[in-house]
């Protein structure tokens, strides 16, 4: 690690006492950003964690500086220079940027802001898979900040945010219910346009595997399901409105079914 890093670190911690800089808290506290947790700056400052992100986000350097609040300080010319020098070793783009410094300065601030949001989202998706990140998300999970399952028999089970793709611009965020193991859209419209890649496809899986007690809790839960009835009578299977989705909420219960379940371990047996 270069000395500039240490310099930068000590400078920022001198200015504001917390470990967090300004941009991240303000981004996370914005309306509709309740699903985001705060990524500590030391995670972002570790270049290893940023591997290949430079290719995915435009104006990577400037965006990163904005997230780490290095940009505002850089009206002090020497420090601004410093932050460019230090990146030059790792990043080819930044040397290019350095050449056309005059040109890049014209780049609209809102474009940089947008790039910073994308970058932060992708960093966020990586961070929440770390131990520290899982802890931060677990806290949000406990406070039901991702909402609760709309399914009646799930009894208000907390949801986990989840992406259907790890690249930006494919799908918006979805919510996974550990109880019915199904995927839902957020209840509130303010979350409907959040990018799914900011949580990533692996998050619910890693979360379930990290907090084993959650799976145990879900297993102990009641496995009720609903069947449509008219005046107390079930509807015939042959009817168009007959029950066709029972399997979706079905769990093995009899011994025979458990045997069948065991056969499903690696492949779907012939019915």
């Amino acid at each position: 690690m270069s000395t500039e890093y240490i310099d930068n670190n000590s400078r920022s911690s001198d200015e504001d006492s917390g470990t967090y800089d300004e941009w991240i808290p303000s981004f996370c506290s914005r309306f509709g950003h309740e699903y985001f947790c705060r990524v500590p700056t030391d995670f972002i400052e570790d270049d290893f964690n940023m591997t290949s992100l430079a290719q995915e986000v435009p104006h990577y350097r400037k965006a990163l500086d904005l997230i780490l609040d290095l940009e505002d300080v850089s009206d002090d010319e020497s420090q601004g220079q410093n932050s460019y020098d230090q990146d030059g070793d790792h990043n080819m783009e930044s040397s290019k940027e350095k050449d056309n410094k005059g040109k890049t300065q014209i780049v609209n601030r809102s474009i940089i802001e947008h790039a910073a949001e994308q970058l932060y989202g992708l960093i966020h998706a990586r961070f929440i898979l770390t131990k520290q990140g899982l802890q931060a998300m677990a806290e949000k999970f406990d406070h039901k900040q991702f909402g609760t399952c709309p399914r009646y028999y799930c009894n208000g089970m907390q949801l986990l945010p989840c992406g259907l793709s790890d690249t930006i611009g494919k799908h918006t965020v979805r919510l996974y219910c550990p109880s019915c193991q199904d995927l839902y859209l957020p209840q509130s419209s303010r979350f409907l346009c959040l990018e799914g890649a900011y949580w990533g496809t692996s998050f619910p899986g890693v979360f379930l595997k990290h907090f084993k007690e959650l799976e145990d809790y879900v297993e102990r839960k009641g496995k009720e399901s609903y069947q449509l009835k008219v005046f107390g009578f079930k509807i015939a299977d042959q009817a168009i409105s007959g029950q066709r989705m029972k399997w979706l909420r079905q769990y093995p219960s009899t011994e025979e079914e458990w045997d069948e379940f065991a056969k499903c371990e690696f492949e779907l047996p012939q019915p």
Partner: protein, 254 residues
Amino acid sequence: MAEEIEQRLTSERDINMDKDESESSDYAEMWIELFLGRKGHEYFCEVDSDYITDRFNLINLQRSVSKFTQVVQYIVDELDESTLENMPRQRLEQLEKDARKFYGLIHARYIITVKGLQKMLIKYKDADFGRCLRVYCNFQPLLPVGLHDVPGEDCVKLYCPSCEDLYNPKSSRHASIDGAYFGTSFPGMFLQAYPEMTPKHPVKRYVPKIFGFELHKQAQLSRWQELQRLKLVKKLEDKKVDLNKSGGYKLLEG
């Protein structure tokens, strides 16, 4: 028991009393319209006043509220204005409360009649009851349903004809409506009356993955559940049920 008799007597007296003053007074707005326009009452449809005043339809509802006849007349705006004006405030509040409850109970009966089903069909097509939040149900409109036919037991739930599951209403305003105001049989009757409204059921489902690899336990369960589905399909095909029409399965694309 004595109370009951007294109640019946008073209600009979009410009938006699109201017979004399049968002229309907002009209200600026009808009670039903006011009720339906209230926030949170979007799930209700308009019950014809003919249906409400037909005593046959009210069998067994008499005891659900006190002064049943007065409540009925209050709902259809046939209660004399002077009676209303002379009423103490407390009684008026009680009357309004009873009227809402009574309307709900009649509503549960009305929506499974031919006319009521038609009205609910329009509301269903407009997705007035909301849409299923399950990702693979593709914004399927929902149907309201109660878990009990007796009021005061549980709140209204929403039935998704696509995944055949039960959901809580999105808004707390709707979540506090009594389930008995829609009844346990409504979605079943609705889908019997309009079988073409039954969507094809989605087969696609989600298994959590870590870096592209499915979680073993969850994947095993989903395979077992798929096996149950295939068994059902076989059973239905033996019974010569056409699963390519509505009520069948929407298989995976491609």
